[in-house]
Amino acid sequence: MKNTRNQIKSFFIRILNIPFAFFMHAIDLIMWPIQKIIGVRNMPYIFLLPNLIFFGLFVIIPLGANIFFSLSSGDELLFAERELPTTKQYDELLTCDNYLNPNTCTEDFFWRGVYNTIFFVFFQVGLMIFFSVLTAVILNKNIIGRGFFRSVFFFPVLLSPVVVGLIWQWILLKNGAFNAVIESYGGNKVSFLTDPSWAMASVIFVSIWAHMGFYTLIVLAGLQAIPPNLYEAAEMDGTSRERIFFRITLPLLMPNLLVVFILASIKGVQTFDEIYVLTGGGPGTSTSLIVQYIFTTGFASSGSVQNFGLAAAASMILGVVLLILTLMQLYFSRNKESKHQEI
C-alpha cells in the first residue's frame, strides 16, 4: 500500500518536474552567454538587476523628484518649468506666530495634521503597547485554545487597511451595528465617527485593533525568550506574582518593548488609509493626520490647484522624522540582540 503510494507520488513529481526542467534549460540558454562575457564574479549583479530597476523606478527616482519638488516652486509638473531653488514651501509650512496654536500658522491644515498625528501616535502607541503586553502575557500562559487565540489576535493584521476601515465604518456608523446593539439595550445612539469628541477615540481604537496582533507577536516572542528557570528561581525566592512581572518579566522584555515602541511610532506617523476610509479625516479636520494633509495638498485639493511643492516639502519633513525613528529602531534592535545574548 505504502509502496504504491510512493510510486504514484514519484510519478507526479516527475511530471511536475518537466516544466521546471524546461524553464531552467531556457534560462540556461540566456545565462550561459552572459556569464561567458561578464565572468562568474559579476553574475550576482545580473541577478540583482531586475529588483534594482524596480527599486530605482519606484523609489530612487520618486525620492529625487520629491526633493526637487520640495525645493522648487510653481504649479507646473515639469521640472524645467519650475523655479529653482527656493525654500518658499518650507517657509510656508513652518511659519507660525504661535506653534502651539495651528490657527496662527500660515498652513494651518499642516499643523492641525501635525498635532492630530502627535495626539494619535501618543495614545495609539501607548495603549497598543499596554494591550499587546497584556494579551501576550495571557497568551503565553497554558490556557485552553491558546493556538486558536493567538491566531484570532493576529488575523486583523492580515486585513487590508481599507477593509479594516470599511468593516468598522459598518459597525460604528450612526446607523451601524454597534448603535443597533446600544439601542436594543435602551441606550441612545452615539455618533462615533461624526462627533469630534468621539471620532479620534474611534480611530485610535480601530487602529489598535488592526495592528495589535503584530506587536503582540513580538512581545510574545520576547516572553518566550525569557528562560523558565528565572521564574522558577523567583518562585523559590518567594517572589509575588506582581513582583515577578515588574522586577523580572518587564525589565527582560524592555528591549522588545523598545522595538515595539519605535516600530509602532513609525507606523502610527504613517497612518492614512484606514482613517481616510473610516472618517475621511473628519469631522472637520479632527482626525486628519499629516499623511492625509500631504495626500490632499498634493493630489486631491478640491477647487484649488494641486500644490506638489508644498506636499513634497511636508513629506520631506515627515521623511526626516521617520528617518530619526528608524535609526532609533535600528540602534535599539541591535542593542536587543546583544541583550538577548546575555540571557
Binding site: P227, L230, E232, A233, M236, D237, E342
Partner: protein, 358 residues
C-alpha cells in the same frame, strides 16, 4: 537542621508515569546525592521536593510537616539551578538580595547577609558586576550565595557543576564539600556524575527509570551493589561483567566460562544456572602463569604514569578492563595472566539482582 521524608511518591505526565513510588529519608544535616543516568527521574524528584512539580500521589514531609500542597515559595527551601538562573539585568548584589527584599527585610540586614555570604564564597569583589561579566565558576558561586543568604531549611542542587570545565568542577566540588561542613545544612544534590556522587555524599540514592535502585553510603554502594545496574553505574571505569555457569562440586560451586573455572565460596547458587560475574578493574591482579585464573590478550593499554589500564579480550569475553598500579609496558596482542580477588567477586542472577549480598 531539617529532615525531609518522601513517602510513596508517584509522578505522571498525562499517561506516562515517571516516578514509581519513591520512598526516601534525608536525615537532618546530611548531604544526599541523587544519581542516575539521563531520564531516570532524579531532577524531577528534586523539583518535586522543591515544589516546582506537583506529585500525582504520595507525601512530602519537611520536619514532619506535610508540604505536598504547599507552593515552592512557602517550603523554605533554596535551589541552585544547572543554568545558574541568575537574573541577567541585576547586579550580583541585587541577585543575592532579591529573596531578602521579597521578605521586606531591613536594608542593613540585607547588606550584612549578602556581604557575609559573598565573603564565604569569595565573591566580594564582584558584587556590583552583572552576571554576564562573570566566569562560569563565579556565576555558580553567586547562585550558591543567593541560596545561602536566605538561611533555607535545606539546599537543593540540580546538577550545579555540569556547565563547568573539568578542572573547575574538581575545585567547586571541594568548595561545596567544605561549604557543607561550614554551614552544615541539609543538602540534596542531583548529578549524573558518579564521581561527584561518591566524593560529596553522606548518602547516595541511585535512581533507575523512576525507581530507587539502591540507597546507602557511597562505599556501601561501591562494595555491595544490590543489582547489576548499580554495580555498573557506580565506579569508574565500570565493573566488568562476564556470563558464567554455576557448577556444583561437592557442596561448593565452580564459576565456569570458556576462559576460566573459578572455585567460589558462594553456597546459595543453582547448579547449571547462568549468572553474571561482576569484578571491578582494580580487583583483577596481573600475575604469573601458575597463579592465574585466566589468560587474556591485550587490545590496548592506557599508560597514565601512576597507573595503567589494560583493555583485554579472551575466548568468550569481549572486553575486560584491568587496573594496574604503576607502569607496565606491554604490546597489543600480548598475553596477560590475570587473577581475580576472591573476596571481590559479585554475582548477579539472570534478573540482574545480586546473589552475593544474600
Amino acid at each position: 537542621m531539617t529532615e525531609i521524608i518522601l513517602k510513596d511518591i508517584f509522578k505522571s505526565y498525562d499517561q506516562t508515569e515517571v516516578i514509581h513510588g519513591v520512598n526516601l529519608k534525608v536525615e537532618s544535616g546530611k548531604f544526599l546525592v541523587l544519581v542516575g543516568p539521563s531520564g531516570c527521574g532524579k531532577s524531577t524528584l528534586l523539583r518535586i521536593i522543591a515544589g516546582l512539580e506537583r506529585i500525582t500521589s504520595g507525601e512530602i514531609l519537611i520536619d514532619g510537616n506535610e508540604v505536598s500542597n504547599i507552593p515552592a515559595s512557602e517550603r523554605g527551601l533554596a535551589m541552585v539551578f544547572q543554568s545558574y538562573a541568575l537574573y541577567p539585568h541585576m547586579s550580583v548584589f541585587k541577585n543575592m538580595a532579591f529573596a531578602l527584599e521579597n521578605l521586606k527585610m531591613d536594608k542593613k540586614i540585607i547588606e550584612e547577609k549578602v556581604n557575609s555570604a559573598a565573603k564565604l564564597l569569595q565573591i566580594e569583589d564582584y558584587l556590583q558586576r552583572k552576571p554576564k561579566a562573570l566566569s562560569g565558576g563565579q556565576r555558580q558561586r553567586v547562585a550558591i550565595g543567593r541560596a545561602i543568604v536566605r538561611d533555607p531549611k535545606a539546599f537543593l542542587f540540580d546538577e550545579p557543576l555540569s556547565n563547568l570545565d573539568a578542572e573547575l568542577r574538581v575545585t567547586m566540588r571541594k568548595e561545596l564539600s567544605s561549604l557543607h561542613e561550614k554551614i552544615g545544612g541539609t543538602m540534596i544534590y542531583v548529578t549524573h556524575d558518579q564521581v561527584e556522587a561518591m566524593t560529596l555524599a553522606d548518602q547516595i540514592v541511585v535512581l533507575n527509570n523512576g525507581y530507587v535502585a539502591q540507597a546507602g553510603a557511597p562505599l556501601n554502594l561501591y562494595n555491595n551493589p544490590s543489582d547489576i545496574f548499580v554495580a555498573g553505574f557506580i565506579g569508574s571505569p565500570k565493573m566488568n561483567f562476564i556470563k558464567i555457569t554455576a557448577d556444583e562440586n561437592a557442596g561448593s560451586f565452580n564459576l565456569c566460562s570458556d576462559s576460566f573455572n573459578l572455585k567460589s565460596g558462594h553456597k546459595n547458587l543453582k547448579h547449571n544456572s547462568i549468572y553474571t560475574l561482576g569484578i571491578r578493574p582494580e580487583h583483577i591482579e596481573v600475575t604469573n602463569k601458575e597463579d592465574s585464573d585466566l589468560i587474556v590478550n591485550v587490545d590496548f593499554s592506557e599508560q597514565l604514569g601512576s597507573e595503567t589500564y589494560f583493555y583485554c579480550n579472551s575466548k568468550d569475553i569481549n572486553q575486560l578492563i584491568v587496573h594496574h598500579t604503576g607502569q607496565y609496558k606491554i604490546n597489543k596482542g600480548d598475553e596477560l595472566y590475570l587473577r581475580f580477588k576472591r573476596d571481590s567477586l559479585h554475582l548477579f542472577s539472570e534478573d540482574g539482582m545480586s546473589v552475593t549480598n544474600n
